[in-house]
Amino acid sequence: MKRVIILFTFLLCISSCSDDFLEKKSDKSIIVPTTYNDLQSLLDNNVDVFNMDPGLGFIGSDDYTIEEMYWQYLNTPTERNAYIWNTEIYEGETGYDWNAAYKQVFYSNVILEQLDRLDPSEAEINTWNTLRGSALFFRSMAFFNLLQLFASPYHANDLEGKPGIPIRLTADINAPITRASLRESYDQVIADLEEALALLPVHAAYKTRPSKTAAYGLLARIYLVMRDYEKAKVFSDSCLVHSSALMDYNQLDPAKARPIAQFNEEVIFHSTQTSYGIRVDAYVNVDLYASYDNNDLRKVIFVRNVGGKPVFRGWYTGSTRLFSGIATDEIYLTRAECFARLGDKDKALADLNLLLQNRCANGTFVPRAASTAEEALAIVLAERRKELLFRNTRWSDLRRLNAEVNFATPLTRTLNGAVYTLPPNDGRFVYPIPPDEILISGIPQNAR
């Protein structure tokens, strides 16, 4: 019997160390993302995850037109249908923008959950903070981008009854999926960013990584969409304190195929739009093109003439992908608009003129002037369109400005003789949720 006891004691000894034994990694080339370096590598995936924003906003906007012969050969039905503002756009295909944004949310949640499991030492706390701030920043930006496409425009007095988007705060794919209200959705966007502000460094080592300055800029963009001009102004200020440089377009070489460099001094945070094929065949809206003054260097830097048609080339990405990140020019324009709306026409025009000074040919710059704040606002908004051409801000601007009688814009497209229109505040300013999402999760579809 004694021997039996010895044997079982031996067995017990082996089993007691079994936890370590079973934690050995099965395949070394596959990492289980646990360390700070692993998590940073996930955040640095700008190949197929981060630093990418939806392209549907651009497709629905009035920045461009496309001709019938190109339209019919567009890669996806989504592009063809979204161009003419069809009620249904997917024709059974999955939603690229929806999927890409939620993939960012998923990655962010994986990172946030792993950070919760780590107990940073004194020396590691900065790294931990930056990683957490970055993940929150990306998640917030993804939710905000989704809200611009798949939820109603933000109206402070009409938030409760309106559905927002699914707010996923866990990486668990089995967690139930519901649409939060519009208020809850925006609350989460703001909460994530405000926490990120406290965690992020003022500047990041790479412009693809979030920074405090980028978070200020994004908050300015978000509050503008929420039409909270006071806050938008405050965050624009904070952003410009840390990053205020503007490129003098006189220094750019219009002979170059891509006159504007990637990571130029105006870029605070680098991000690009989904590379739908439609951008390649798009011509700049002819009326908009005509509105550039001949001394305006943007006319030659942003646009090149191909067979008499204006083709866009003002990429802030260094490639042919469209920029959707945060740059100082946008923040100056946001602050100018806020000043105008808050009644300070001089400060509004000061910001605007600072920008335009860097856009006009040497010696031709004439400062803009206005007699009233309203007048200043109209000038700022007109210049905003000209500066932020193909930059993914137009769709949100259309949605928010539609609430104002003075600035509401009916949209019209002509394609092969047929005329398509999108009146202000139309239900089609909210895109339908992709059919596979509706089918599998059962969340309610948007009424269009």
Binding site: F21, P33, Q104, I173
Partner: protein, 1060 residues
């Protein structure tokens, strides 16, 4: 002791019989191994006088001159010997194959179970059956002799063997192979079949669930030979030679050379080659096209052209395949063993050597195996200790050139008028990759000789893999009290594989790569990013495992109650390391090489607009699998009639998640058996043995591609910032667990009186639950497809074994009949494949449709040929259609024709064995039924079917042909979707059902007992012929449904086995 008691009794009894009776004595031995047989009943025929042989097989009885002695022993054929004038009668009993099952002991790898007490489903091949076939590989010998087990032919070979059909969709599909109590992680070709004593196949939950999470695909338990304490030293020698047919390159008919050239001329006239000719990549053109170009350009007169073409028309490269690339295979096998033992120590030592020359010239393999096993019984048999060593080293040369891999370029097949050698046998070059003119120009500029000569390549490339593999087993068992013992087993396994592919500097492989990367400056200066010289690829893999098992065993009988139980604990680790790397500019004589620049993109010589980095094959792997398992198994038998068994096992692994490891329910099974024929009320005299069995339980399976943890893969640099980045491969899945296979098995074992027939009938249901599969998930989760425990399957089948003794006299005729069915349906799978995937890959698995089998064959509905044009016709939206674009792009999965499974659903064999005196003849006929395959036919592509399938000759040519052919005409204009439509149409799907004359075995045996004066105990000459041919097949469109590329090659073996 018994003898001493019985002899006086016999004497007393004999007093009443005739006085002429006298004492007759002798020895009874087994014919198979010449070992004494104790316990044989020796009876004087017609009386009840009898005796049993003693431990040495000796007997002595009183009998008279006219008496006949009857020798009977369970498992052996009863022998009758007339006494006559003899006083010494030595008898050798022949094993009775039909009743051998009576004494069968099944090994599960954890314990030995006598057949009477099992409840589960087992199949077994004993030493004789394992040795019936001649082969180098041990598992080959199971084919068509074990019920429920099938070798999967055609399609994917990821699961070469299935036991009772497939049990998984995406996870590991191979049965677990256990050798001498432990799972074997190495290459099974390392095992010498001559060392194998028996192979047991565990088929249902009760049999296999002791192996837990690795038992899902069934378990094959191999037991190797060991010494016996019954015999003195014995030496056995076995040698054989097997010669196999050369593959027939003409097996699949193709377009003739003359028509190939005619088609090329037509294509040339149509301008087909103009774009290739103008390509800046210098893509190769065939010699005929080059001649046509030269003629067009006025460099070759039309007469010369015709002369040259006429010469080419007579050539057929397939003759060169046969002459230079194929050979008859020759396999030699030698095995020598020494075994023996006495009470305290038994041993088995063997050495085996195999040398195989394959059917491809340059492919050869040799294998040396060494085996030493020792057992000791100590302390009055209370302790037994064993120590085994099994060592294999093998060399595998893989230099052959497989004709199916020979092409002219990536895009073009090899032209049929290629020649490998001139009339004197000197290697000739064939056009390869780039145009001849371009290559000659490059050579003139100083680049290396750029010609490709297949016969030279055969000698300039050396691909050799050397492997060593050894297992060390040690065990101790101790008996505490009779009935209760404990044992500890340990195994260390190590395997090292060194692959060395050396492309000499003269090889085309090396010369071509050097030339491709050669940089020529504007002044004509050459620089070589890849240095001149050979290329050496090294691929080293090493693996080792540690296995430790501790087990308690309890066996006790109390009156009518019998209890057998085991419980144990097992721990295992397998580590696999691999590295591979390449040396450029390698000089084999000096063993030196040069460094290259892997980072820079170099302009390619053949095309100025392509840049490429120097190919790097470097890589490493480091894998670790760990398992911790607890198991127990118990059986209770009452009155030898009722047996109840239970088995459970819990596995923990570093592959599973925390939840599965901690909360996981053990995999378990339970079984019941009832020996009906033992009941007092049973009086069916023609069925002396009848037993009913029923089992229920779960086996498990694991998929190493999914883990419970979030996993990611890292990549070097991203294009924007140059920083390393990572991509998530696997979302977190804390509830991941093993696949579970739920099996119900019902069986009936029977035996008809006088051994006329015996066998078993089994029915099983086999449901896969929590199978790993893909499932669509809402994209807002961040994924749209997810791999987890999401699928399920439902299967059922029947295994019937029937052994009959048809004639049992001097000539003996026995038949072994195996019949199995296996059906499998996917019952739950939400990530449904599209039509394209179902058509292309449905039959090889991996692309599924709920409600069908996982290996389904699908096609487009066929509406015959268009009588006007001979175009193939299908259906679109219910009407006959030639809109190939719509049909191929938009036919929904539910509108495809679903034929059925691509793997046999009914299969088995009939083996007949005849024996007469020293001669034995056995042949096996196998059958495979209830499945479909897609045959090849002509594909016209955009080149009029150039070099395509021989169906070309049966094609529609004129109106009315559609009445006797279904092969489309050459299309008037190219439609990219017409070819795929026809290739996947219903008309090319055939039934695979067939009956095959699998093999025949003949042996002549001389035993010392029957032929006194022989210098050895036993000698046997044997002959074995495999793959004799098809006897019947459902489809007349192919010669062999299971061997569609090359045919099943006949092999002829001749061997000699001697026991000294």
């Amino acid at each position: 002791m018994k003898q001493k008691l019985l002899i006086p009794l016999m004497i007393v009894l004999n007093l009443t019989s005739f006085a002429q009776s006298r004492r007759v004595q002798g020895k009874v031995i087994s014919a198979a191994d010449q070992q004494p047989l104790p316990g044989v009943n020796v009876i004087v025929k017609g009386t009840t006088h009898g005796i049993s042989t003693d431990a040495e097989g000796n007997f002595a009885v009183q009998a008279s001159e006219n008496d006949v002695l009857v020798f009977s022993f369970i498992g052996y054929t009863t022998a009758e010997v007339a006494v006559g004038g003899e006083t010494v009668i030595n008898v050798s009993l022949v094993e009775d194959i039909t009743t051998l099952s009576e004494v069968m002991v099944y090994s599960t790898g954890y314990e030995q179970l006598p057949k009477e007490r099992v409840t589960g489903s087992f199949a077994m091949a004993d030493h004789e059956l394992v040795n019936r076939k001649v082969s180098t590989n041990v598992l080959d010998r199971l084919e068509d002799v074990t019920s429920g087990l099938i070798f999967n032919r055609g399609g994917s070979a990821s699961d070469p063997i299935s036991i009772r059909g497939r049990s998984t969709l995406f996870a590991n599909a191979n049965p677990l192979v256990v050798i001498d109590n432990f799972p074997y992680d190495g290459d099974l070709s390392n095992i010498n079949p001559n060392d194998v004593e028996s192979i047991t196949v565990l088929k249902d939950a009760a049999a296999a669930s002791i192996w837990g999470a690795r038992a899902g695909n069934g378990v094959i338990v191999i037991t190797t030979r060991r010494g016996s304490e019954r015999n003195a030293s014995r030496i056995s020698f076995n040698s054989n030679i097997t010669i196999g047919e050369k593959p027939d390159p003409f097996y699949v008919p193709i377009m003739s050379t003359a028509d190939y050239i005619a088609t090329e001329r037509q294509l040339f006239e149509n301008g087909y080659y103009t774009s290739i000719e103008n390509q800046l990549t210098h893509r190769a053109l065939t010699p005929v096209v080059e001649l046509l170009i030269a003629n067009r350009d006025g460099l070759l007169s039309s007469e010369e052209l015709e002369t040259k073409l006429a010469a080419l028309r007579n050539k057929d490269v397939r003759n060169d395949y046969s002459k230079y690339l194929y050979q008859k295979s020759v396999n030699q096998q030698y095995a020598l063993s020494l075994s023996g033992g006495s009470k305290p120590h038994q041993y088995y030592v063997s050495v085996g050597y195999d040398k195989n020359d394959a059917t491809l010239v340059g492919n050869a393999k040799d294998r040396l195996t060494l085996n030493a096993r020792n057992n000791w019984s100590l302390l009055k048999d209370k302790v037994s200790v064993s120590g085994d060593l099994y060592y294999t080293c093998s060399t595998h040369q893989n230099n052959g050139i497989d004709p199916s891999t020979l092409r002219m370029t990536t895009f073009d097949r090899l032209y049929p008028y290629a020649s490998f050698a001139d009339d004197n046998g000197n290697p000739l070059s064939i056009t390869q990759d780039y145009r001849e003119g371009f290559k000659r120009e490059a050579e003139a500029k100083g680049l290396l000789d750029w010609s490709y000569r297949p016969l030279q390549e055969l000698h300039e490339v050396d691909k050799t893999t050397k492997a060593t593999d050894y297992r060390v087993n040690a065990s101790v068992s101790y008996q505490f009290i009779p009935g209760l013992s404990a044992n500890v087993l340990y195994q260390f396994w190590n395997s090292d594989t060194q692959g060395r592919n050396h492309y000499s500097e003269k090889s085309y492989f090396a010369r071509n790569l050097v030339n491709q990367y050669t940089q020529v400056s504007t002044t004509g200066q050459r620089t070589l990013p890849i240095p001149e010289g050979g290329i050496l690829d090294i691929n080293n893999q090493s693996a080792f495992s540690n296995n430790l098992r501790a087990q308690l065993n309890f066996n006790k009988a109390f009156g009518k109650h019998q209890v057998n139980a085991i419980a144990g604990y097992e721990v295992k680790e397998v580590r696999t390391n691999g590295t591979q790397y390449r040396y450029y500019g390698y000089n084999d004589a000096l063993a030196n090489s040069s460094a290259v620049d892997y980072a820079t993109q170099f302009q390619q010589y053949y095309y100025a607009f392509t840049q490429a980095r120097i190919p790097s094959v470097d890589g490493q792997t480091d894998l670790t699998d760990r398992f911790l398992s607890y198991y127990g198994n118990a059986a209770y038998t009452y009155n030898q009639r009722y047996t109840l068994s239970v088995s459970a096992r819990k596995d923990q692994s570093n592959l599973f998640g925390v939840e599965a490891n901690q909360k996981g329910v053990p995999l378990w099974s339970t079984g019941f058996s009832w020996n009906i024929s033992e009941e007092p009320f049973y009086n069916v005299s023609f069925l002396p043995h009848l037993k009913f069995r029923a089992t229920y339980g779960y086996n498990g399976n694991i998929d190493k591609t999914v883990t419970a943890y979030t996993t990611a893969q890292t990549f070097g640099t991203n294009s924007i910032t140059g920083l390393p980045y990572a991509r998530i491969l696997n979302p977190p899945n804390p509830s991941l667990q093993w696949e579970r296979i739920r099996i119900v098995n019902l069986g009936l074992d029977f035996e008809i009186i006088r051994n006329i027939a015996s066998g078993s009938i089994e029915y099983y249901r086999k449901n896969g639950e929590d199978l790993i599969g893909f499932a669509p998930v809402a994209p807002s989760t961040g994924l749209n497809r997810y791999k987890g425990n999401t699928a399920s399957t439902k299967g059922h089948g029947v295994d019937i074994v029937l052994n009959t003794t048809n004639v049992n006299r001097a000539v003996k005729w026995q038949t072994n009949f195996l019949f199995s069915t296996s059906q499998l349906t996917v019952t739950h799978y939400k990530d449904e494949a599209t039509s394209w995937y179902l058509l292309n890959y449905g039959d090889t698995g991996g692309y599924l449709r709920e409600g069908n089998t996982p290996f389904g064959l699908y096609s487009y509905a066929w509406a015959g040929l268009d009588p006007a044009t001979g175009d193939p016709q299908g259906y679109w939206e219910g009407a006959v259609s030639k809109d190939y674009l719509e049909i191929t792009q938009n036919t929904k999965p539910e509108d495809l024709v679903y034929h059925g499974p691509a793997r046999p659903t009914t299969f088995g064999s009939i083996r007949n064995t005849f024996s007469w005196h020293n001669l034995s003849l056995s042949f096996n006929i196998s059958y495979r039924l209830g499945y479909y395959f897609r045959r090849n036919s002509i594909s016209y592509g955009n080149n009029l079917g150039l070099g395509g399938h021989g169906d070309y000759y049966e094609r529609w040519k004129n109106r009315g042909d559609e009445k006797h052919t279904q092969i489309p005409s050459i299309p008037a204009s190219y439609d990219a979707n017409q070819g795929p439509f026809y290739a996947f149409s219903e008309v090319l799907v055939e039934k695979g059902d067939h009956i095959r004359f699998q093999d025949i075995q003949f042996s002549y045996t001389l035993a010392k007992s029957s032929t006194p004066g022989m210098p050895f105990q036993r000698a046997q000459v044997y002959m074995y012929v495999n793959n004799l041919g098809i006897l019947w097949k459902a489809s007349d469109k192919v010669p062999d449904p299971d061997y569609r590329q090359y045919g099943a090659l006949k092999t002829y073996a001749l061997g000699l086995k001697v026991d000294f």
